[in-house]
């Protein structure tokens, strides 16, 4: 079984805790093979954090630079990152509990809709929202995901109501292309503005990370996690100024 599918199942052993997102969800939509890393949206509670850490430890995972996998930081929109090697594959696991651009209601619905699924992954519309990043390549994927909406005419009608630029369709292809380019650049800049406070807030943390990395190198993840949490307290703020979505 593919490692990212296996991890999703193990993360959800006994209870829904993790929904696969990012490039590996794109695979499960049978659209493309395009990403080496795994991304999950996690349920924001202590039991989930503990279970995920336990699964990761069983694979010999180590912390990468990032926030501790702890709801005090995750609730502030931070992300936690880990890595291990499995059968020659460098496996990277990235976690958030507050996916950008998804409202609280939408996230709540997500957990409700995915209940009972052993390997849940984001639906097309939610996946599109999460891919409105500042990376150009993600917008190409959005385009391909949007093609899947041919199967959902009601959703297409709703999108037209929400997308004023689609009103430029009668003005011709060039006008529509220009409007879409401008919209994409606006979304890229919006994501850059969203991330900017996190970069600033993690500056002190990044300066001490090499020392922390050395102290946890080669140690079990349970030890490393305690050390990372202890080091992050007072250095990496739980929350930053600005919107989380």
């Amino acid at each position: 079984m593919n490692i990212y599918l296996r991890l999703t199942q193990e993360f959800n052993d006994g209870r829904l805790r993790a929904i696969l997102s990012g490039g590996q969800a794109v695979v499960l939509h049978r659209l493309a093979l395009m990403s080496k890393d795994g991304d999950w949206i996690l349920l924001e509670d202590d039991e989930t954090m503990g279970h995920i850490l336990s699964v990761l430890e069983s694979f010999g995972a180590t912390y990468r630079f990032g926030a501790p996998l702890d709801i005090r930081w995750m609730s502030g929109g931070w992300s936690a990152h880990f890595e291990f090697t499995y059968q020659g594959i460098r496996v990277r696991t990235d976690f958030i509990t507050r996916p950008p651009r998804l409202t609280a209601d939408r996230i709540e619905r997500l957990w409700r809709d995915k209940a009972g699924q052993p390997a849940p992954f984001l639906d097309v519309s939610d996946l599109i929202e999460t891919k409105k990043t500042n990376r150009e390549k993600d917008y190409a994927v959005i385009g391909e995901l949007a093609r899947l909406f041919r199967e959902y005419p009601q959703e297409v009608a709703e999108i037209k109501r929400q997308r004023p630029i689609l009103a430029s369709i009668p003005d011709g292809l060039h006008a529509l292309e220009a409007a879409l380019d401008a919209e994409r650049r606006a979304m890229i800049h919006a994501n850059e503005d969203r991330l900017s406070p996190y970069f600033a807030a993690s500056e002190a943390w990044s300066r001490i990370w090499p020392d922390i990395s050395g102290k946890i190198e080669g140690r079990p993840l349970s030890f490393a996690h305690a050390a990372v949490v202890d080091a992050a307290l007072g250095i990496l703020p739980f929350a930053v100024q600005g919107e989380l979505t």
Binding site: M1, N2, I3, L5, S21, G22, G23, V27, R30, L31, A32, L33, S35, K36, D37, D39, S58, F59, G60, R64, F65, G66, A67, G77, W78, S79, A80, H81, F84, T85, Y86, G88, I89, R90, D94, I96, T130, T133, A140, V141, G143, E144, I169, L173, L176, L195, Y198, F199, S202, S206, R207, W209, P210, D211, S213, G214, K215, E217, G218, P220
Partner: protein, 80 residues
């Protein structure tokens, strides 16, 4: 109006025709082949709120190329 730009080739889109077992197999094979770019993206992040890993001085005792002196690495975990 027809959308002209396409990101993916027809071969890539052929994932739809695969069985679950076939998809699993090609997915893993793709990951294995993609390992060739690990050095290039070693410090990068695909998602989250971090952009790059902080540089670690190769001359420091905390170089990622070796363990801190006196500290033994545990045996690697093997999951089958």
């Amino acid at each position: 109006m027809q959308i002209r730009d396409e990101f993916l080739s027809d071969e890539d889109l052929d994932l739809k025709s695969l069985s679950d077992e076939e998809l699993d197999r090609v997915w893993t094979e793709w990951l294995v082949q993609a390992q060739i770019t690990n050095d290039l993206d070693r410090s990068e992040y695909s998602h989250g709120v971090f952009a790059r890993e902080p540089a670690i001085d190769a001359g420091s005792q905390f170089s990622p190329m070796g363990s801190p002196s006196g500290k033994k690495k545990p045996a690697p975990v093997t999951r089958l």
